[in-house]
Amino acid sequence: MPALLQAFVRLVALKRLGVLLFVFAATVCVASTASALEPAQTKTRIQGFDFAEHNSYGLLSAATSRKHQGNQLAQSELASNSPLAAEASAARTFASSDPLVADLANAIEKAYPGHVVGVNVPMTDAAGHLVTDADILLRNAVIQVKAGSGAGLTRQLARTQTATSLPVIGYGPRLGGTLVQNIGKAGGLVTRDQQFLIDVVAP
């Protein structure tokens, strides 16, 4: 009888080990599958800081730490689990020395609270060189803004693109026809229509 009991205990112990091994294997398997299925990450280089973001906005909100050297007025970073986070996010107002930038950033922020990361944000290339300022950095795009006819925008979009894998969009209500046409022909993103832009950058 004791021998039978000992055999039973061994069997139970083995089963437990088996279960543990199964759970461990399943965990490893799920982790590697998740890693393989994870969306490609986008990378944005900001002076003095590097951060990687998922393409999906839904994956961003809780996990991504954000720092930058852009205009930090009214950009207090509350912990995402703070009870005040949503309220503060909804109330943010961006200030910029470029009036059109501030207007557009605040219109986007009004439409999608928390979507604007910063304004006038210095961007660096892979070698760490400062290449330009992003007028408006969103969670899913960078916008370069022009109040005038847009001279210099083509190169600015290209330079900005060296610092981020997010789409870079040119915007200006008075952009010239030749400029818009040529940027479009080259596959760039540009618009004069603010509401269209706001719709396009929806989270």
Binding site: S96, S97, D98, P99, L100, V101, N120, P122, H129, L130, V131, T132, D133, D135, Q144, V145, K146, A147, G148, S149, G150, A151, G152, L153, T154, R155, Q156, R174, G176, G177, T178, L179, N182
Partner: protein, 128 residues
């Protein structure tokens, strides 16, 4: 960023860098971009050979009638005060033209004179 275009008769990399020396912090990138920082903001001065593809024909004609084979520089800025500092330093030169992207194209000294005479001139408010 907003941009002021400066058309020059030849490459002005060294001249611009020299004229900005001492006015703020200067950084030069490998591609020739000079970044000026004055504590308020950054201004990027860089040669831009695609500007001519952005201009409407009449605008380009106005420039090429004064400078047959212009070399274009873009002065990218966000803060108008920082930009005024840069423009008055580098463009007070009778051989260059300044195009503020809001309809004003003038020889360098005339543009600089306008900037100096109107402290509150923020041409970004002007309709091109």
């Amino acid at each position: 960023m907003e941009t002021v275009i400066i058309a020059t008769p030849h490459v002005y990399d060294a001249e611009f860098k020299q004229r900005l020396a001492g006015l703020g912090t200067l950084t030069a990138n490998d591609d020739g971009t000079v970044i000026f920082e004055d504590g308020r903001s950054r201004v990027y001065v860089l040669r831009n050979d695609v500007v001519s593809d952005e201009f409407e024909p009449d605008r380009l004609n106005r420039i090429t009638s004064a400078i047959a084979h212009p070399v274009f520089y873009a002065v990218d800025f966000s803060d108008i005060v920082s930009c005024r500092t840069v423009i008055t330093a580098i463009a007070d030169d009778p051989d260059v033209l300044v195009d503020n992207d809001h309809g004003v194209i003038l020889p360098g000294p005339e543009f600089v004179k306008m900037v100096r005479s109107r402290d509150d001139w923020d041409w970004r408010q002007d309709v091109p």
